[in-house]
Symmetry: C2
Subunit: 313 residues, 2 copies
Amino acid sequence: MRPAARNRLDPYPSRCTETPDVLARNDPVVYGRHDRDAPFAAGQLVRYERDGFLILEPPFETAELALLQAELERLRASVGASDFVIAEPGDSTLRSIFRVHELSPLFRRLVRDARLVRRAEYLLGGPVYVHQTRLNYKPGLRGKEFYWHSDFETWHVEDGMPRMRAVSVSIGLSENTEHNGPLMLIPGSHRDYIACVGETPSHHYRESLRKQEYGVPDPDILAALTRRGGIKSVVGPPGTTVMFDCNAMHGSNGNITPQPRSNVFIVYNSVHNALQSPFGPEKPRPEFLAARLSFEPLEPIAGKLPPGADDGR
Amino acid sequence: MRPAARNRLDPYPSRCTETPDVLARNDPVVYGRHDRDAPFAAGQLVRYERDGFLILEPPFETAELALLQAELERLRASVGASDFVIAEPGDSTLRSIFRVHELSPLFRRLVRDARLVRRAEYLLGGPVYVHQTRLNYKPGLRGKEFYWHSDFETWHVEDGMPRMRAVSVSIGLSENTEHNGPLMLIPGSHRDYIACVGETPSHHYRESLRKQEYGVPDPDILAALTRRGGIKSVVGPPGTTVMFDCNAMHGSNGNITPQPRSNVFIVYNSVHNALQSPFGPEKPRPEFLAARLSFEPLEPIAGKLPPGADDGR
């Protein structure tokens, strides 16, 4: 049964009925034309369109990666408790730092890197801006799982992102193995919109960043998605980079291995897809989770990450 | 610092000091001679001795496996709450059924199967008996992790198993993938005895079967073990069988995939290694966790698992 939309203009209603549902995606996956100027190798766009994600050859060189890793450690050591620092459920271990592109000149430079921006622009068919950034730390020995979800479902309901026209980039800053709770994606899941049951209380976002209780997909639908598409883990050495569609179903298991897992996460949104009022609760979530102060296009910067970027602009 | 043994006859003291320690293993890994009659292929014994475990080509045929899977479902549907049925932490989902070789004629036959018993006898250098059996169910979507541990550490401290002369056999009854929380082993970890801190309260075993709080190895020692030996997951189709030394460090991550994971687990102990009084608490754990009513050697039974075994005896 199709959930009743809160208003007739909502193309992707969710959390407004007591039964889950699968709705058709009404948006392209790749907005750019498949031409010879595409910043992708042959076959990559077809795979992105089919699977909803693409694992890239590491786009950064070893020295650049070392800069990013050092900046990760610097931020981890220097940030105190704050609205945009989230801990593991059940303890105070740092889990995520948001808005790192405003906290750190190096990450400010990273989000403008032409190797990332040109690809995002191509996939989304035009200029892009940064919707969200964060550093994720999954500690060893007691890293918690993160249950299956579509980012778009949350961004649509809670943040007012109107259409599926955003792409996430995750750059591994540690080794990701099959054992330490890597990102898992369900290939092909981006082609359906999984409408979830229930409603969304206000101000639940702090807990939901630790552990999801809203926007949770139905078990039978999840089982059907994995029967159809299987599951793919993103594993590889530090620097391994994945781009995935905003509606790709993903999650991760816990991590009892001693090897922590960390990554930097950037969400590019099309300037033609700027946030509106949320489709769910009246009050939008804060700026660090969903930028709405400015939708100015990013100016891509060519070349390698400069060693000096962490001490100036 | 070597922990003070509770008595000077304890070769493997644990949970009796406030500092963890690594003690040398003072027992063989393979007790049998490496001769041409060994029920192992060339190289397998060397690998078992080096790694502390061995993944076998599935020793059971498809029809036999179907019998075991059907019996698993029958037991799951028919057992009620009981001392030897353990649920997932935080909910009532069935996690393990113990003493299945006494609950079920088919599993009674399985533990005597010559394909298993002959191998266990060879590794342990003589007749063996069943120390413990269980069926494990790890549900999909919300299967919990099981933290690193050496079974021997618990069996020694809490059950009075004197020496390292037992082997566990785990037979997968569902597919084990890299994603659904498979058994993880640390190769080479069986060569050290990791003495744990703290003491053992009486009657804690019901909770500890859900979630460990005692006999937990030190994080730095775990990190050193994995740096040295890495981590190996046991993955494969239903029927995949692993034999592992009683002192091999192992655990498993949670499972958010929709695919449940189940296996049957049999512990063979040498009749020369029969249980004594526990080396830790005074009162031993119950019979379903650690057999001590009889140490009679098993008589191996040749041939395939008989289809009628589930309606006899």
